[in-house]
Symmetry: C2
C-alpha cells in the first residue's frame, strides 16, 4: 500500500504533466528513485539496476518499468493498475549485449507511450541515469527528439502537501532521538563505530508507533582532524578528550527526511572553535529569520553571510538546500540552494535544510536546522538545542 | 591512512594501465566510487556529487578530483601526493550553468593528463556517471576520442590479493554475527524495524577488534507475501506465525563485502516451501562443487540448474555474481555472472556470491553463499548452517 491517497498521486501527476506541457515534452522518463516514488509510490532498494517511470501526456497512468524480479514489488507498492507495472527480462541485467533501456524504448513504442517525432524528456543528471542508459535510449528511439528534463519532477516536489509535512514531523521526532543518541555516545573511550551503531539503531527502530527508513546519506561523524572534511565515515578509534566531533545525521519516514548537524567537543574547546560555533549559531538564526515566504533563497544566504562576516567567518560553499523525499546517495532535492544567485522565491510548505558548515585546515563546525516555511516564517522541524555541545 | 600498502595500489594501477594500453586508452576516468577507492584509497560518502579518478598512461600517479569540500578527505584517505588531490569550486555543484565535468576537462588539459587526439575511456554505465557528466565532458574535450571503458577497472578487481581476501575473512566474521542477529530477531510479535535496527547495529559495531562499514545494499527482509519480491524493505509490522521471511544481509570491512541470504519460517512451513528450500540447498551445493579454478561461470550455473530441475525448480534470472569492494547502491562487481552464456573462467582468489533466489507469486526462498575460489575449489567465507530456518 502506498503511503499517500491515490488522489494525491494523481495531483502530483497532473502538476508534472502541466510542467511537461509547458516544456513541450510528450513523454517523461523519470529515473531518479525519489521521482519514481513521488509519482507512483514505487519503493524498493532496486535502483542498482536501471528502472524508470514513464509519464505520457496521452495516458492517464504512468508505466513503472523495473527489473522482472521487482515487478511484484511494484504491484505491492504502487497505486498503478497492475498492467502498468512492467518487468524486463533478467538477461538485460549487466549484459554487454543488451541494455534495459533497449527494452524500454521497445515497450514505450508498443504501448503507444511514445511515437515518432515526439519529444522525450530525460533526467540527464539524475543518479542512476547513466551515459549508457541515454545512449541506448536515443538509439532505440531514433525518430524522437530528446530534451533535458533534469529536476523537472524535483521542482514539482519542492512544495509539500500537508500529508508530506506530516511525515516530516514524524521524521523530526526520530531525528530528535537520533541526535540525542549520537550526542550521548560521543564520550571519551567510546568507539566511533559503537556510536554509529546506536545511531542506526535509533534511526530504524523509530518510535513505538512507527518505523524509520534508511536515510539518503549514512550517519556521518568526522572527529578530530577529520572534522576538516565533511564526508568521512567511522572507524573503531575511540573519541578523545580535546577533540571535536561533527554529527551529521537524519531520520526518514516513508523516505521524507529531516536532517540535522550538531558539533560536540570533549573537554574545554579552544577559543577558535567556541567562538566560531557562536558565530555559526548567530548566522543560522539570521538565516532562519530571513526565510519568510516571498524572500529569495539568495537573501537567506545573504543574511547568514553578513552576520557571519561580522564574527569573522567567511564561507564560500552553499549553506543549504531543499529536502524531503529522497533515496541514497543524497537527501537533497537538487532544486533550491541557499547561495548567491539563487532567486527561487520561498513559499509556504517548502522544506529546507540550512547547514552552514565551516571546515578549516584541521577542524570544523556544523550546526544546522531543517525548517518548514510557514506563512509566518521558518519553523525548525526538530527541537534540539542549537549550541556547540561541550562535554567534560 | 589507506587500508593497503602503497605498493598494492601501485600494482593495481599497473594492471589498470596495462588494460588501458591493450584497449588503446590514453586517459581513463573512473567515476565508480569502488574503482576510485581501489586505485587511490579515496573514501567518503561524497559520491552524491560528481567525482573521478583520472589515470593517464603518461603520469605515474592518478589525479583524484572531488568537490572542494572533500579535498581534505582525499588528503586523509589516499596514497597520492597531495598535489594530485584536486577540489572543484562549490559553484559547480548542482548548478544549471556549469558542470563539474567542465572543470575536469579543463584540469585534465592544464595538467597534461589529456591532449588533443587522445582516447579517453569513460565508464558509460557506472553509477554516478550520468548522461549529463558525459555530455559536459565530451563538449569540454572536443578533439578527443571517447571509448566506453565500463567495468575496465572492475575486471582488474576480479582477482583479489591476499590482503583483500584477509578483509573479506574479517567481513565474514561480521556476516556470521549479523545473520545470527537477524535470525534471532525474526520471532512472532517482533517488529520488522526492530530486527533491522539490531542488524544494522551488528553490521557497524563489528567485533571488539574492528568496526564494520556501511554495506552496498541495505538489510533486506521481505516477509509474508513480500517474499515474492526481493528488494522490499521493512515496516513496523510484526513477524507472524505462518509466514516466511527472507534475510538478505551482509557485512563489510574497508568496503569489502561478504553477503549472505537465509530464509526463516515461523511455524510449520507448507510442503512447497520446505521442499523448495531443500532443492535450493542441493542446487547451491552442486554449484559450489562445480566452482573450481578452470570452470566457466556458466558451468557453475548449469550445475545448479540441472540439480534444481530434478527437484522441479526452474529459475530464469542469474544465480550469482562477483563481489568484493563496493559502495551503495550495490555490492556486486558487474563482471562475472553465474548464468548461461558467461564464459568467464574461474581463477583462484575470485570471490563470488552465489544466490539462487526463487520468487513465486506469493512466496519465495533465498539461501546463498559468498565463496572464495581456492586452488582446491569453492570455500564459503562464512559458516552459517545452510537449511531453511524453522522456528516454532
Amino acid at each position: 500500500m502506498p503511503p499517500f491517497e491515490t488522489t494525491e498521486y494523481q495531483a502530483r501527476l497532473a502538476r508534472t504533466k502541466a510542467s511537461m506541457g509547458v516544456r513541450g515534452i510528450d513523454l517523461l522518463l523519470a529515473a531518479d528513485p525519489a521521482n519514481m516514488n513521488y509519482l507512483t509510490g514505487y519503493d524498493g532498494w532496486s535502483f542498482y539496476t536501471p528502472q524508470v517511470v514513464a509519464v505520457s501526456l496521452e495516458h492517464d497512468a504512468p508505466l513503472c518499468i523495473v527489473r522482472g524480479i521487482d515487478r511484484n514489488g511494484a504491484d505491492v507498492t504502487t497505486w498503478l493498475p497492475k498492467d502498468n507495472n512492467v518487468g524486463y527480462p533478467d538477461n538485460y541485467v549487466q549484459s554487454t549485449e543488451r541494455h534495459p533501456m533497449d527494452f524500454r524504448a521497445a515497450q514505450g513504442q508498443e504501448r503507444g507511450f511514445v511515437k515518432d517525432r515526439q519529444t522525450v524528456g530525460v533526467e540527464m543528471d539524475a543518479y542512476y541515469y547513466s551515459a549508457a542508459c541515454h545512449a541506448a535510449l536515443t538509439k532505440g528511439l531514433p525518430n524522437c527528439k530528446f530534451e533535458d528534463a533534469t529536476n523537472l519532477v524535483n521542482w514539482v516536489r519542492i512544495i509539500k502537501s500537508d500529508a508530506e509535512i506530516k511525515y516530516m514531523h514524524e521524521a523530526a521526532r526520530l531525528t530528535e532521538k537520533v541526535m540525542a543518541t549520537g550526542i550521548e555516545h560521543v564520550r571519551p573511550g567510546v568507539r566511533q563505530c559503537d556510536a554509529v551503531a546506536a545511531i542506526y539503531q535509533a534511526q530504524v527502530a523509530g518510535s513505538p508507533d512507527y518505523y524509520g527508513d534508511y536515510t539518503g546519506l549514512c550517519p556521518m561523524l568526522p572527529t578530530g582532524v577529520g572534522t576538516s572534511t565533511p564526508h568521512l565515515t567511522w572507524t573503531e578509534a575511540p573519541f578523545k578528550v580535546g577533540e571535536g566531533t561533527i554529527l551529521e545525521l537524519g531520520a526518514a519516514r516513508h523516505h521524507y527526511h529531516v536532517p540535522m548537524a550538531r558539533t560536540v567537543f570533549l573537554g574545554e574547546p579552544p577559543a577558535k572553535i567556541a567562538d566560531t560555533a557562536k558565530v555559526v549559531v548567530e548566522g543560522l538564526a539570521a538565516a532562519l529569520e530571513a526565510a519568510k515566504p516571498g524572500a529569495q533563497a539568495r537573501e537567506v544566504e545573504d543574511a547568514w553571510r553578513k552576520t557571519a562576516a561580522k564574527g569573522g567567518v567567511i564561507k564560500e560553499s552553499r549553506i543549504g538546500y531543499s529536502t524531503g523525499c529522497n533515496y541514497p546517495p543524497d537527501w537533497g532535492e537538487h532544486t533550491l540552494s541557499l547561495r548567491p544567485g539563487d532567486m527561487t522565491v520561498l513559499e509556504p510548505n517548502m522544506t529546507i535544510h540550512c547547514i552552514p558548515g565551516v571546515w578549516m585546515d584541521d577542524w570544523g563546525i556544523e550546526i544546522s536546522e531543517c525548517f518548514h516555511v510557514t506563512e509566518k516564517g521558518a519553523v525548525p522541524f526538530a527541537d534540539v538545542p542549537r549550541d556547540l555541545v561541550v562535554k567534560a
